[in-house]
Symmetry: D2
Subunit: 362 residues, 4 copies
């Protein structure tokens, strides 16, 4: 693996990136976000056995607005199980393929994975740059432990990410003890073909992955808000979380209804001020895909809404609204974020950018 | 007001009923449910000033599947502000009109109202026959107090009704202390024209009536589960409720995600058994519009769903599913009911039937 | 095959019917329509290899409102490739399975198929009882030709059927020369899982089966309106038809925009009178599943509409509206029918009833 | 009216533009499209009586993704009936207001109107820059005739525009004699609140404006493809057009199913080549809002689709697909364009740019 790509100097060469599982819904978003990226260039696309050897543009069933640029469309899809000579791999692999192939790549490549396979592994950072960049400290231990030259970091589940982004400044300021969260999740979260139209038009499905989604939200949030101990593991935040999830007929954008109980009960005004004052660390703010404001507080009575707010910050901001007292816990509010950008492809990409900015990839 | 209509004997005459506000979405459902009703016949339809004197069939913008029967379509719409000689008035009036006109009718007529105007009045029963039929005891006091020959009873908000129906047997068996409820409410709950399509296709609106809907759910549920004191007032149940509501792109059927904390914590199996064993009192079970089972427990992982379960019990049953432990309170579950049948027109009609069965109307 | 079931006498025994391909969307509708059928009883359900030997209620992913009755739910699914001792088989088999298995059943059983495999075979009646009952005359020839004791008849494609039902009285009265038809077809026409929600919410797909649907509409309509020659073949009606089809985000109900050119140009009033005066032959009118009025003319400016008109005549009527002159051909109008009832399961069932009424099955 | 703004020189001053009726759905799009426009700047926003004197950002119910920039949000809304000192007025007024107020503005200002009030007036150009820029020749006559210092030009109905853009090169090459068009039109075409969600979810409405929309398509297309005679009037193209329109549950993007009969019948290949070869005149191609390709031919079997193709060319391109023979006329195809960009706000803006480029506004 060549380490000559330095985005911060004036080098005109961009860092070569492979997209693993590039034909699926999240892989397509990765392709879209990497077109014209200032630091990265797509060096390889991988796919399942059925797709290997064919030009990407021919086989992909493109789901997004625009189309892949001609040079990308002409790239020949390569196998996911054979690591290539790139600096970074963005992985949109399905869980089983991720479990098998990501460690192979991590021997030499920095893998930024959207898959759930290793999110809860003790030595794998589960990362949102604005929330817990200090979890990157695990990487040294991970490399030693696993004898890797590369590394493996993950981004959270598409629902966890917006919730945790909104909770982070409140947890830091007031200490969160209890969370009740009910989600209304978009169909794109299920991939393609995903949810049958006969199941979701004029309908709601009150479960996702047979409870698995709720489990992920409850566990990932605690890890994300946890602390690094001894440079080698994360102690989960000691809060109680109850999640109830639904699938709704919305294309993109997960909505979360939150009730929060704190150690030190803030006023509604303090909550709003804390959310509005939240900034990522300096090093994160300068990343190409970082939004100007990670959290946007809406003051209208009926926002945030998926169709109107999911594109905020190019799909990388969480929008929060309806901050008000809760009769049961302390404060209620509504949080929304774009599930395939911030919650998947954009989240993985921002993680990759952080690896470069912090010198993990150089 | 003639009191000669006795549905329980073999009389072939049916009780004359007026529908107040018959042209709106709920009024139309009342018309539909009264066609071929064994006890009642539509004697009058009232409407706003604009509609008075015109045949119902000509002016109504019919929203439902079937059409009104010819004799109903030919009825001339009458003013809402002038009580007529009927035994019962089913009221689908808007709040302000209800506040003004319902007391006028109650002087001589038994008014069963779907409007919110008097739901929280201390001497007005807020009634679900399967839940709190004993609240009818207020009527004597109400008549004395207000010098009415008729009476006024109300049914709850379209969201409260399904929730409370599902909670009643659990409250009786285990004592409910805390409730968190998140709702996904259908567009028909907003009447017609109601929600603009540009606001709700591919979208969620995370508020209804600027907080008013949440307030109704929190307050009505406590009154419904409360107890009659001294034959003249209701002491609210002393539970804490937090509601968060959303509007979703579903035609009919409100979904509620419930987390419940009990005085005596039951097992999940006990909750399911209690729900499945729930029966209305004998007198309620025999009402023409009462469903065979007020609560239907679904055992699939992804039910209840609005499109598949809203018609259960002809739209009069609440469907409950996904009963499971809650990390925060004790038990979580999903409840669903038809908002314009059980939650509005059918609820008012069942109340009217209870008035007849208990001899309040005779 | 026992031939003792005579529905027209007072026999209390009902005719045993097998449903082939009972687990799919159309098969489920057949199950639903046969519950409480006055003539028929479900004697067997067949399915694909994966489903054989399991109770129907356990394996079916039920798509409709109600659920299958307990005795049906407990029936063990049988293989589709082995004819059983029933009088009639309603076939909802996929095309390839239909091509292979339906002739096996037809050796002894009257097969009423919804599949497209044999619709255009010269000796197979393509039948709508109100439109071309005389095409049953082919059966004698078919039996002789194929040495069958049973027979095989088919109903048209879900889009052709509503269109042809609306066209039949006009063709008889004025002679149709040219038809332009544009369709807006419901998602249930694609079966389950069928159309992905990511493909159809906030979207239109302007093609179905890569032109195959348009071809079926153009060819089937001509056969349906054709005439029997020599008791052994159908001469297609000699009209020109151009079809353009789309898939739209509607659950049930296909809409067709029709422009029609006639041999003898009628006035709009004559067209309306002809449509309203249309009646099926006496023998067809008495069939249990026949609607009171095969064609319902709507006089509102904005009808028919799928959600409001698809249930007309229990889903067996075609609704027609907006009859008006056409600048290009002679008359324009909009026709709508329920694609999984009249256009599939109900169509096959009505055909089966006609076989009984005409003594083909006795 | 100052005429000093010359966009083609290096002047840093931009041309002041008023948006008439700026609070509605089309007005909002105009605001959005004028932000950061290279030639124009928003100098005034007008609204109805209710809105006058209030800051735009406070009263507008913003329907689009992003929000108006702060300086625009702070602009105080002015009355529509009092012309202001601007060079150009983009009008999104309702029809009646347009009829009354646009002539007042045209005395001194170049009015580019999206309203239908004057589209068919003999001396008013109905304009699509790529289609009939030569119709601008009417302006001299219009000014003389009406004694105006400004002028009035209009863009077509949101459905006509995409259709005509697709037809223009074919008409020029092969002569169109007959058109059958069926449209599936998005809800945003009805403005806000527009179509009630209860009318359109799981539904189709087979009429728009009670036939008025069909009439517009039939008449406007002929005027757009007509020829200027004597510098003072348009002779309509002598083709026969039959339109059938529907409203469908799609947010943005009108789909048109076209069947076309020609004077000189082309092959399908010739049609495709002609569409792909189509270019606007040089002067039009350089306009800031002109798309690189006015017509994009899709070669997939199931395109164009509203959600995937409406944003093509920043919403200014028409997408055409499924070009194939027609059994009834000569050729069938599907055309799609963005109804509130190309079909309304963007169309008016492109017209305004053409006025500047041709020196009508200088």
């Amino acid at each position: 693996m060549k380490n000559t790509h330095v985005p911060t100097d004036v080098s005109h060469k961009r860092i070569p990136v492979a997209i693993l599982g590039a034909t699926g819904a999240v892989g397509q978003r990765m392709v879209q976000l990497l077109e014209n990226h200032p630091w990265f260039e797509i060096a390889a696309l991988t796919g399942s056995e059925r797709t290997i050897g064919r030009p990407y543009g021919e086989l992909v069933r493109w789901m997004l607005d625009s189309e892949p640029l001609a040079p990308i469309a002409q790239m020949v899809v390569q196998p996911s199980d054979t690591p290539l000579d790139v600096a970074i791999a963005l992985s949109a692999l399905p869980t089983d393929a991720a479990r098998e192939f990501e460690p192979l790549w991590a021997h030499r490549v920095a893998v930024c994975s959207n898959a759930s396979a290793y999110r809860m592994a003790p030595d794998v950072p589960l990362l949102i740059p604005e929330v817990n960049p200090e979890h990157l400290a695990l990487i040294d231990y991970q490399r030693k432990q696993r004898d890797w030259g590369g590394c493996l970091i993950t981004n959270p589940n598409c629902a966890s990410i917006g919730i945790t982004l909104a909770l982070k400044p409140l947890h830091r300021a007031f200490g969160i003890k209890k969370i009740h969260v009910a989600t209304l999740q978009a169909i794109s979260g299920a991939g393609y073909p995903g949810v049958a139209s006969l199941d979701i038009i004029d309908n709601i499905i009150p479960n996702i992955a047979n409870g698995g989604e709720e489990d992920k939200i409850e566990r990932e949030t605690r890890k994300l808000l946890g602390t690094v101990v001894d440079h080698k593991e994360i102690h989960d935040a000691s809060m109680t979380i109850s999640a109830q999830v639904t699938r709704v007929p919305v294309i993109d954008g997960h909505t979360a209804l939150l009730s929060i109980g704190f150690e030190q009960q803030p006023t509604v005004e303090q909550v709003i001020a804390t959310l509005e004052g939240f900034q990522a660390p300096e090093s994160v703010r300068k990343l190409p895909s970082a939004p100007a404001r990670p959290i946007i507080v809406r003051h209208e009575a009926d926002r945030p809404q998926p169709r109107r707010d999911r594109a905020a910050g190019n799909g990388m901001s969480a929008s929060v609204g309806r901050v008000r007292p809760c009769p049961l816990l302390d404060v209620r509010m509504v949080a929304l974020s774009h599930n395939t950008i911030r919650g998947a492809a954009g989240g993985a990409l921002l993680n990759a950018e952080l690896l470069v900015a912090t010198g993990v990839v150089s």
